[in-house]
């Protein structure tokens, strides 16, 4: 059966790859949710930097969702675009995490001086 441009349920040969990629997406989302909990519990310490990291976690998780959709996609141009989105989301997610870590250090140093 074709659901839009996707082969659903996936072919037997695609199931292992598809499952692994979906698991990365789920784990990435769980990591993002853990980040949200940390953010909620450390309101002052996590005010700057952690939000960027949490968004980075979610963006990085979505890279794997695009990877999974690319595995079951039947339309060649769409497959190519999904592959492109997969890489771009991964790069953007990692850059956001890097920015977050930098902002955590700048903000941490600032509140440390104020103490």
């Amino acid at each position: 059966m074709f659901l839009f441009e996707f082969n659903w349920p996936p072919d037997l040969k695609d199931i292992p790859t598809f499952s692994i990629e979906v698991s990365i997406f789920i784990v990435g989302c769980i990591a993002g949710i853990i980040g949200v909990f940390i953010w909620k519990n450390h309101r002052i310490l996590a005010r700057k930097g952690l939000p960027e990291c949490v968004i980075g976690f979610f963006v990085f998780a979505f890279h794997s969702l695009f990877d999974a959709l690319d595995t079951i996609c039947e339309n060649a141009p769409l497959k190519e675009n999904l592959d492109l989105m997969d890489s771009l989301y991964s790069i953007v997610g990692l850059i956001l995490i890097a920015i977050g870590i930098l902002r955590i250090s700048i903000y941490g140093a600032k509140i440390w001086r104020e103490l």
Binding site: K13, P16, T17, I20, E21, S23, I24, V27, G28, I30, A31, I34, G35, I38, N41, H42, L45, A46, L50, C53, F57, F60, A61, S64, E80, D83, L84, S87, L88, S90, I91, L94, I95, I97, A98, I101, L102, I104, S105, I106, G108, A109, I111, W112, L115
Partner: protein, 174 residues
């Protein structure tokens, strides 16, 4: 044909791990050495496995489909992004040494695992694996990425827990 390269890689692998073991025994291993040793070890082992085609996991020494330079370039950029996160962590630690406390080694481990996973992703673009090995290859790549994400979340959790203890005034000072 590749004998010289194989001998060189084998010597490098043994030498690197002996130096690494001595460093570990003497407790003189810094995070950056750990990262580079992990990455270089993985690359050498994978290259040796590829050359000897252990378990005949390679069907043909050529890409499965014609290589798309944009695709490969972006995957290399992903690996570069992991290296950027690694370098940024050191800049952040220099600015705010608390980052080097609890969770620091775990953060470096997360970036190392992610970089290795990304290296496998790039590696797979250049070879045509057998249909039996391909799901296993995807599993290995995915396992490194999943482990990297989990370990990164743990690193953040430990860092904030440590910061909270550090910023909470002790009852004696109140």
């Amino acid at each position: 044909m590749w004998e010289v390269e194989i001998v060189f890689l084998s010597i490098l692998l043994v030498g690197l791990n002996i130096a690494f073991a001595i460093g570990l025994i003497k407790h003189k291993i810094s995070g950056i050495i750990l990262y580079i040793a992990g990455l270089v070890d993985t690359i050498i082992i994978v290259l040796l496995l590829t050359y000897f085609n252990v378990g005949s996991f390679i069907y043909a020494y050529e890409p499965y489909s014609p290589l798309n330079p944009v695709d490969v370039g972006l995957e290399c950029a992903e690996l570069a992004a992991f290296i950027v996160v690694f370098c940024v962590s050191f800049v952040a630690r220099a600015k705010y040494p608390v980052i080097g406390g609890k969770g620091w080694n775990i953060l470096l481990l997360a970036v190392t695992l992610g970089s290795i996973g990304m290296f496998f992703d790039i590696y797979g673009e250049f070879l045509n694996f057998t249909s039996q090995f391909f799901p296993l290859y995807k599993l290995i790549t995915g396992a490194f990425q999943i482990a990297g994400i989990i370990v990164l979340a743990i690193a953040f959790f430990m860092f904030y827990k440590f910061s909270e203890i550090l910023f909470t005034p002790s009852p004696e000072n109140e």
